[in-house]
Symmetry: C2
Subunit: 618 residues, 2 copies
C-alpha cells in the first residue's frame, strides 16, 4: 500500500478503536473522535516527532488535545503507537484506569489535562513559547481543537498571543465537524469564518477537507514550512464520519454508538496497525540560563515599612538570580505587582501576557510542562478571570506560583472592582493548593523561596499598602506554620490575622494590653495548610478567638481556623471579623474601619468576648 | 460657535474636569479620560439619547464605560449633562461618595459596574440583545472600550456574539491611546489590527482620528445608519491629550497630574458648558411576553427518581409560563442542564451563548439591566470560567440566577475536568450571594421559584444523577431554611448533607438505626444563608456532627456548618467528609466511595464519633 492507503486504513483503525473503547465504557465521545481520525493518522505517521518510550525527551514534539473529549481518539493513537496495549485501551473510564474520561497527566504522554474547552490551545501557546524562547530547541506543538470551543474567548487570547510572538513552531488543527453538543455551532461548515478570523490575528490558515489524507499531508507540510507565523489547519470534517448511523447526525454527541458491532463492520473491521511515529531528530539540548550564585533574598529592616507586593518583586529577582529555571509572567500590571523588577533583571525569562489573565495562566501551565518554574502575577481580583484555568491546572498536576496583589478593601480609593475579597476562598478550594498571605516583607520573601520548591498550585496574596517590617531578615517561615507574635501565660483571647489585618490585630493587642486584657496574636501567614497545632493550643488556652480578615466572611482565614478546630475536643467561641459590606471608595484606613476589620473593631470584639465569658464563668 | 467648536470646547471641559476630580481625590485615571474626551463630547451632544432626569425610561440609550477606569470622564459627562453638581463631582473617591473610583450602579445612570476590563462590552451585547429581541424598542448601546482590554478573550466573545446576532443597535468605540498601564499595547496605534479583527468577526469598523470632532461626527452617523451589523469606531487618540506633560507619555497611567493648575491653564481653563443631551424619541413601549396563568410547578412522585437538573429545566419552563420577564441562557449544554426545555417552550426568550461562559454571564447581567429576570445554566465546573463576571455582577447589584449542573464526583466517568468541586466555595464567597443545593426535584422546583423573586446572585447547584424523590410536591422550602429528615429525642450524632450526599446520609442513618445508633439528618439545601437555628439546635442536642459533601473540604457545606456554629456557646465535634482526593474515572457509586463520602463512610464516621464521645463520657 502507498502512504495514502496506509493513512486511510490507520484512520479507520482509530475510528474503530474509538468506538470499541467507548462501547466498553458505556460512555465517551466516539463521534467527536471519528471526525478527527484522518487528521491524526497523517500527523502521527509523518509529522509528529515523538518517542513514546522516552516521554521526557526534551526534543519530543507535543500533541495536545484541546478538545479533550476526543480522548478515545487519543488513546487509540497511543495504542497504534505501541504506548499502551489494546487491553489497557479498553479499560477506558473504569475505576483505577489511567485511561480516564478526559486526558490527564497520569499518562506520561499527556502534558496537561483537558476537557474544559478552550484551554488546550492557550496552554499550547505556552509550550511553544517555551520552546522558542526558553528551551530554544525546535520541537513543535500540535494542537487538536474543536470547532465548538472556538467560541471561548480564551482561544482568541491564544490566537492573539501566538500571532504576536510569531510562534511558527505551533500548529493548531481545528476539527470543523459542524456539530456541538446540542446542535450546530455558530459557523457550521463555514471554514472561511475561521480562516478569516485566524488570519486577522496573524496566523497562517489553511482550509482543507479533513478526510482527504492528501490534503492533510500537504497542509501539514505547509505548516512545518511556514516561518514567522503559527499555522492553523481548518479542516472540514464530519462528526461520526464513516458510520452512516451517526455521520453528521445531530444528537449523537457524547454517547457510545448504538450498534458498535455494525459500525465496526461498516468501517472494515478491527485492525491492528502499528505506527512508527517519527522520532525526534537532532541532538539539541534545552537552553540553560546562567545563574548568579546562591539565593540571596532581599532584606528589610525592622521598623521600616514596605509592601509585601514589593517584596514579591524583590524576592522574585533573587530567585531568578539563583535559579535559571525561574520564569515570570504578568498581566500588564507589573508596576503594581512588581513583576517589573524581574522583567528588568531577567528580560529573557519574563513574558508580558498583556491584559489576558487566562493566557497568563496558560503560559504558566505550558511553561511548567517543560520543567520551567513559572511565577504569574496580577491583581488578586483579576486571577478570578482565570479561575477555571487554575482549577484545571490542579487536574494537570501543574506546579506553579500565582501572586495576587491589591487584596482586600485596604487598597483604598479604587473601589470594589479592584479588590480581591474572594481569592482566599477560591484558591483554598483548589485541589492540593497552598495559600499564603504574608504579613511582612521578609516573610513574603522567605515564603516565596519556599513556594519555588513546592508542588501544586501555590497562591500568594500580597498587600498594596506598605506595612511595618516586624520580622528579621532570614527568619524561617515554614509553609504550614504560623507565628505567635503576642502571647503570655494569661492570654484570655486569641486574635488571628494575616497580611494587613495582622497589623490591626497587633495594634488591638497593644490597646487591650494597656487595659489589662492579655490577648494572643497569631500570624496565620499560611492559610492553607493552616497551623493546626498552634490554633488548637490557642483554643485550649484562651477563652475566645477573634479572626480578622480583609476578605468576605466565606472561605478565608476565619473558615480556615474553624476547620482547624472542627474536630478538636475543646473549642472556644470564634468570632469572625470580615468584610460583610459592599465597599465603595475611601482611604485604606477608612475602608478597614467601614468594613469592621480595623484595630478598633478587633478591640471591641475581644472586649466583648472576654467579658461575656468572664461573666459566664463568674 | 459652530457645532465643531462647541464640541471641541466641551472636550476640553471634560479633560479639565477629569484633571480636577482626580487632583481633588489624589488618585484616579485622568490621562485615560483625556484620550476619549472628544469622542464623548460629540456622543453626548448629538448621538446619545438619554433623559438624565428619568434614568428608568426604557427608551433611553445606554452608555457603558467598558474602560471603567476612565470614570473621571464619565463623571465629567454627568456634570456637563446636569446630572450631578460640580461639587459632587469633586467628591470623587471620597468616603461615602457615590462618585466612586470606578463606576457602580449606586449612581442611577450607571447600568453596571466596570473596572475589571473586558466586561463592559460583553454586557453591552446583553443590553443590545435585550433591546432587539426582548424589549423590541430602538434604544442604542454605546460602549467606550480601552485598547488594552482588547487583549481579553471576553471582548472577542462579545465581538462574536454581537456579530452573530447582527446587533446594529450596538456601537463600540475603542479609544486607541496606545499606552496601557505599563507600556505600549500589543498593537500600539496600528488601527488596522483592530479593524481587521473586528471585520473578521462580522462588525462594521470605522478607523478615525479620535481627536477630530468632524471625523467622530461622521463615524457616529455612519454607526447609526449601519444596519445588520454592529459598528466599532476605532479611534486613534493620545493618552493625556492636550497636556504636554502627559500627552502620549508612558508612566502617566492611573495617577493625578503633577501640576493640575498648569494643565488646566494649558487646556484653556475651567469651563461650565451645559450639554443638552438629546432626549429619547418616540413612544415605543417595551414588549411584554404573554403569560399562561399562575405558576404551576412540576410535581414528582415520592418513591420515583429524578435528577434535580431535570427539575431545573421543568421548573424553568413553568416559571416562563407564569412570568413574561423570565429569560434563559445556556452554554451549549442545554441537553445536560435541561435548559433545552425552556428553549423549546419559550424560544423567543432563550439565548444560546454557545461555549462562551463569560458571554453567558454578560448576557445575564445585561438582560437584568433592562429588568429581565435571567437564568443562566451550564456545568457548575464551567461557571468557574466566568467567575470574575460573577464577582463583578455582585458589584453591579445584579439580580440573576445561575444553575450549575453536574456537580461533584458523582457525575461518574467523565472525570475531574467536568466535576465542580469548588463551586460552593467560590459562589459562597460572592457578596450577597445565595447558594442553593437541592436534594430532591420537588425541592429544586420550589427553590427555583423562590430564587426568581430574590435579589442578588443566586446559585443553584444541581446533580447529574437521578435521586429518590423524598418530598411532596408543593412543600415549602424557604431559602435560609433546612429540613430535618431524620430525628428523635435520643439522637447522638447529626449528619448534614445536601444534594447527592443527603441520600447517602439517609442511607447511613437507616443503617445506624438498625444498629441502635440514632442519628439526626439535616438537609442543608440552603447552603447560604444557612439555617443557623436548626444547626445550633443539633449542636446542643447531639454529641457530634458529621458533614458530608461532594465538594472539596474548603468553603462548602462543612464550612457553612462551622460558620453557623462559630460563636455558639456549645458546639460538638464536627467531622467534615469531603472530596480530598483527585478523582479519576469511575461509576458514580465508585466515585462516592473512593472520595469517602458514601453511606459506608458516613456510617463509619458516625460510629467513631458516637463511640469516642460515649467512651469519654463513660
Amino acid at each position: 500500500m502507498g502512504d495514502h492507503d496506509i493513512w486511510r486504513e490507520l484512520g479507520q483503525q482509530l475510528r474503530v478503536d474509538s468506538i470499541r473503547s467507548s462501547a466498553a465504557a458505556g460512555s465517551g465521545h466516539p463521534t467527536s473522535s471519528m471526525s478527527a481520525a484522518d487528521l491524526m493518522a497523517v500527523l502521527i505517521s509523518k509529522y509528529l516527532h515523538y518517542d513514546f518510550g522516552t516521554p521526557d525527551d526534551p526534543r519530543n514534539d507535543h500533541l495536545i488535545f484541546s478538545k479533550g473529549h476526543a480522548s478515545p481518539l487519543l488513546y487509540a493513537i497511543y495504542k497504534a503507537a505501541g504506548a499502551i496495549s489494546d487491553d489497557e485501551m479498553l479499560t477506558f473510564r473504569k475505576l483505577g484506569s489511567r485511561i480516564e474520561g478526559h486526558p490527564t497527566p497520569v499518562l506520561p504522554w499527556v502534558d496537561v489535562a483537558t476537557g474544559s474547552l478552550g484551554q488546550g490551545l492557550p496552554i499550547s501557546v505556552g509550550v511553544a513559547y517555551a520552546g522558542r524562547y526558553f528551551d530554544r530547541i525546535p520541537y513543535r506543538v500540535w494542537t487538536l481543537c474543536g470547532d465548538s470551543e472556538m467560541a471561548e474567548g480564551s482561544m482568541w487570547e491564544a490566537f492573539e498571543a501566538a500571532g504576536f510572538h510569531g510562534l511558527d513552531n505551533l500548529t493548531a488543527i481545528i476539527d470543523v465537524n459542524r456539530l456541538g453538543q446540542t446542535g450546530e455551532t455558530m459557523h457550521g461548515w463555514d471554514l472561511d469564518a475561521y480562516v478569516t478570523r485566524a488570519r486577522a490575528f496573524g496566523w497562517h490558515a489553511i482550509p482543507i477537507n479533513g478526510h482527504d489524507v492528501g490534503e492533510i499531508d500537504t497542509a501539514m507540510a505547509e505548516a512545518v514550512a511556514t516561518t514567522g507565523h503559527p499555522t492553523v489547519i481548518v479542516a472540514r470534517t464530519e462528526k461520526g464520519h464513516g458510520v452512516a448511523a451517526v455521520a453528521n447526525v445531530n444528537g449523537a454527541h457524547g454517547k457510545p454508538l448504538g450498534d458498535p458491532e455494525e459500525a465496526i463492520a461498516e468501517l472494515g473491521g478491527i485492525r491492528d496497525i502499528s505506527v512508527q511515529v517519527p522520532r525526534p531528530e537532532g541532538s539539541d539540548k534545552p537552553h540553560v540560563f546562567a545563574t548568579d550564585g546562591p539565593l540571596n533574598l532581599p532584606a528589610y529592616e525592622i521598623g521600616t515599612k514596605e509592601a509585601t507586593r514589593k517584596a514579591y518583586g524583590d524576592a522574585l529577582v533573587a530567585l531568578g538570580n539563583a535559579r535559571g529555571d525561574v520564569v515570570a509572567i504578568d498581566g500588564e500590571v507589573g508596576n503594581s505587582t512588581y513583576s517589573e523588577e524581574f522583567a528588568e533583571a531577567h528580560p529573557d525569562r519574563f513574558v508580558q501576557a498583556y491584559i489576558a489573565e487566562q493566557q497568563m495562566l496558560a503560559y504558566a501551565v505550558g511553561f511548567q510542562v517543560r520543567g520551567w518554574r513559572p511565577f504569574a502575577a496580577t491583581f488578586a481580583a483579576f486571577l478570578s478571570r482565570a479561575y477555571d484555568f487554575v482549577r484545571m491546572a490542579a487536574v494537570s498536576r501543574a506546579n506553579l506560583v500565582l501572586a495576587g496583589s491589591h487584596a482586600g478593601v485596604s487598597i483604598g480609593e479604587d473601589g470594589p472592582s479592584q479588590m480581591a475579597l474572594e481569592d482566599l476562598a477560591s484558591m483554598r478550594a483548589v485541589h492540593g493548593s497552598t495559600v499564603l498571605y504574608p504579613s511582612d516583607p521578609n516573610q513574603a520573601a522567605a515564603l516565596l523561596a519556599e513556594a519555588a520548591d513546592r508542588d501544586g498550585i501555590i497562591f500568594m496574596r500580597t498587600t498594596r499598602e506598605k506595612t511595618p517590617v516586624i520580622y528579621q531578615p532570614g527568619e524561617a517561615f515554614p509553609i504550614g506554620g504560623s507565628r505567635v507574635v503576642r502571647s503570655g501565660d494569661d492570654d484570655r483571647v486569641t486574635l488571628v490575622g494575616a497580611g494587613i489585618t495582622l497589623h490591626e490585630a497587633i495594634k488591638a493587642a497593644d490597646t487591650l494590653a494597656g487595659e489589662g486584657l492579655r490577648v494572643r496574636v497569631i500570624d496565620l501567614y499560611s492559610v492553607k495548610p493552616a497551623d493546626v497545632d498552634t490554633l488548637r493550643a490557642a483554643a485550649r488556652e484562651t477563652q475566645a478567638i477573634v479572626t480578622v480578615e480583609d476578605h468576605l466572611p466565606e472561605g478565608g482565614i476565619g473558615d480556615a481556623v474553624l476547620d482547624a478546630l472542627a474536630d478538636a475536643p475543646e473549642r472556644p467561641v470564634v468570632r469572625k471579623l470580615a468584610v460583610r459590606i459592599m465597599p465603595g471608595s475611601a482611604t485604606p484606613a477608612e475602608q478597614l474601619a467601614a468594613a469592621g476589620i480595623d484595630a478598633e473593631h478587633i478591640v471591641a470584639a475581644a472586649r466583648e468576648l472576654a467579658g461575656a465569658r468572664a461573666g459566664a464563668e463568674a
